[in-house]
């Protein structure tokens, strides 16, 4: 086996990693399970109130159509 290495190749080698991978192989698969109930906002903290308002908004939107 030959191992002669020039400066450029040595520097390239030193900057490589075989243990840190950042490409994402399963992202879409996992995301499909995690989006329930993820709406930000303090309005949602008041669950009763939001349910009422959301329902009213939906009704209003339906009435407009």
């Amino acid at each position: 086996m030959s191992c002669s290495i020039d400066t450029r190749k040595a520097l390239e080698f030193l900057q490589t990693s075989g243990l840190v991978h950042l490409e994402i192989p399963l992202e879409q698969l996992v995301r499909a399970t995690t989006t329930l109930d993820e709406v930000a906002g303090y309005v949602l903290a008041w669950e009763k109130y939001v349910l009422v308002v959301a329902a009213e908004c939906d009704e209003a939107a339906a009435a407009d159509q």
Partner: protein, 586 residues
Amino acid sequence: MVPMKAAGELPRPWRAVEQRAVSWLAAHHFRFDPHTAEESTVLFARKALVEMALLVGLRARLDPAPFDGDYQRLFDRMSAAAKRPSYRELVGRDERALLLYAGTHAALRLCGQESEEFHHLIEQSVAGRYATSFERIPYRQLDLLHTLELAGVDHPLPPVEDVLPLTLFCADPSVLRLGDRDIYAITHTVFYATDFGLRVPRWPAGFDLSRAVELLEALCLLSRHRGNADLVAELLCSLLCLGVHDSAEAERGWAFLVEVQEADGRVAGPEGIVHPGLEGSDEEYRSWATAYHTTIVAALAGLLARGVTVIRRPRPSPATAPDDTQRTTALRRATLWLADAAVTADLDDALPAAATAARGARALAEPALAQAALASVVKRVEAEQGPSPWRRVGADVVFECAHGLRAASRDCATLDRFLEDTATALTGLTAVPVAAAGGVAHLMRLGWLTEDTGNALIASADPTPLMTAVPPPAMTAKGLVQYAGDDPDRLPGGEAARAVGERLAAALPAACQDYKLDEVAVLLRCLILLGWADHRVVRDGVEFLLRQQTPSGAFGWPAVDDPDQRMGLRQRWTQSCVVTLSTPAG
């Protein structure tokens, strides 16, 4: 970090934040009146009214001085609204929304303006055996108990102490898994249980106040980085309610609030804070609707910070160092799994597996764990024809194998030749790229480069651009760990290091949520090198990784059925986790 000034010293950021916030609220006092609201926004105005009323009530309770003009305007507005039968008689008609009205009565009572009729209405509603009985989530049950307490209304409900064990807050949850709704559940639990900082509740058995405080502080950090002033203000209030007035994170939270508060006192809530259907087309209304709550909470934080009757206690520190047994046990099992995998995998997969096993074994001071794996790959490498495999497997793999063989007093001729050639190629260079510095350090530690040459080359690499640039956080982490190798002392300290640490910490929840285990691992590795090993975010991150370990010792749940794909993912994830779990703390 300059410590927070004690009461009586000036300037105090919270005083100005409160004054400006209340000024803005008072300028919009008419928005809080359901009577003048448009039909589609009446419910929203009722909610805003009770929240504004609570602020005014607490102001009367915590500060004996008469109201200034702004507080007086807010008081007048809520008092006028509460006097209208069209508002208060809804208590008897809309029992599920008891809290929406009872809170206004409680606030008036705090202001010394108790209404007998309003009180009677609430008593009747409580006696009706539904308004206080339908099932509520625990922190809403605490809300009910607290409101009735402030309203002076008797009830037969179980006390606060019976509800607290059911709350998320008292379960000491992982900071990385909490969504906005969870954080509101936590802050509100603290508000009600402590009566807004005026009492120490009987916490459940096993409750650890130091962990509760670090949870709130960690959430404050994460919320700051999401630009969520609403949660930052809620968390500042929570820390104050627990009596903590000397928190460095709280100081950063205050600095954030000062920065985001607008000149007129408005503090905008985060994106999506109100239902889109409420925003309408009226820009002025939208400006109020998206900010009134955050501005109220900012004012409340200021009020609690200056309240002389609010409990004060030194910030509690953890009583004991965290137990490291789980980490070392998991590391050992994963190291053994990788060592086994290295023997059976093809060479390109076996080399990183053996290298990581060697690293894990070294960290555990049990080099024998990786001996068979290293022997297997060395035998196959030596038999390989053509270009050296060491060229293609990555510098970290090569160096871990070299350290492992050195620890086992074994030689590998092709590896030695490759490292010698690499070191020779560097001779005469005066500078190396920043990502090569870690490799130079390895060559020096292995004796292939002299200390003078190695240190000069390392000194030529400037990590500053890595600290200040804003690529995706995981890329920053990767760059910094490549630069540092495993030497935490090489990373800069000070404000720049803290800022980059915060940025990496703030990226952890999303990485966990999306199950990007490699990303979680490299973020944690860099944070550990930066000196964050004891931070709650990092400890919860490491625990998250530990929860991904399978009975075999491998890490990760691929959620796919193909055996080859499962094996490939598990090896890669296990390598990432072992590298992180074996990283020395900075």
